[in-house]
């Protein structure tokens, strides 16, 4: 359901193709809302059928024709309605690594520790990515579009990613310490 609004959200900044939208997602919402091209294309079709956007075909040679989507007033209204919505409950975020940790009690100590250390390396890489690539991308988009108000929100969500990874790394460090000492 939220993919629809992700696409409409990006379309408010200007007309885009499915391929463009995927690149925008990869550089920004990927870590809290991601989708594959094979899901994006049918969703765009549905958006057009519902009158939330219209498409224009730009012929190309050697490549498939580009299909550019333009948001309609109805699409803008639908996005605003969604933005104004309040959830009454927090939605549980799934994390299979926490699940694995939860049931890891039956494994050998060293086995658990190897697991946690491996996971930590992945988290550190992700933290680094938020602090470099993602940060640079947001800076560039601000320069290119001049959307200052939006930029505040984009930077805030980037910082969430950064703080989430930092919290995760601290938790992993503490977990490793505790298991080394008490297991």
């Amino acid at each position: 359901m939220s993919l629809k609004y992700t696409l409409l959200g990006f379309l408010t900044y200007g007309p885009l193709t499915g391929y463009d939208l995927k690149k925008h997602i990869n550089n920004s919402t990927k870590f809290f809302w991601d989708a594959k091209l094979s899901q994006i294309y049918p969703t765009l079709k549905k958006i057009e059928n519902d009158g939330l956007a219209v498409s224009e075909v730009m012929p190309q040679n050697g490549k498939p024709d580009k299909k550019i989507y333009i948001i309609t007033d109805k699409g803008r209204a639908a996005l605003l309605a969604w933005l104004g919505d309040f959830p009454k409950e927090i939605t549980a975020t799934k994390d299979s690594e926490l699940l694995r940790s939860f049931f890891a009690g039956s494994l050998e100590k060293e086995n658990i520790l190897t697991h946690l250390r491996h996971h930590m390396a992945l988290r550190q890489a992700q933290l680094h990515k938020y602090q470099t690539e993602t940060k640079d991308y947001i800076k560039q988009v601000i320069i290119d579009t001049g959307l200052e108000r939006e930029a505040i929100m984009w930077e805030l969500t980037r910082r969430f990613g950064e703080q989430y990874e930092q919290m995760y790394i601290t938790w992993l460090e503490d977990a490793i310490q505790l298991i080394e000492d008490e297991m």
Copy 2:
């Protein structure tokens, strides 16, 4: 896919019904892996078909008969194989509220602030739950089962929940401050 291992994981502590399993999930893994009864029942059926567990029917009157599942050696082996698995990439956790924040730049300042404050109340309630209900439940399970080694891991995942909510609340506070001052 992970629901299968969630169910097998709980079944290693003893024979349980689908209904029992849901209660265990609600008290522990719910915040990083949840499922409805309508998904649990067919998954248990699949687990039995694959030979990972066997079921015994206990007749009752006035209620549907209880169907108790018992994990098999094949089931234990499957769980251990999964526990030993390493993911090569971190999986993006979906969060529609972050997505809403990402696209909230077009809304009025007060509108965004109301949203963030509302979200904060939900997060504080969840934090409190981890610090009371969830903590008490783990204590009780340790008393009842004496699974000390497992208890270390359960307590660690509970602490993750606590630290996650604390991080989220801090982020929301900072976001509110920033928007009040700079928007």
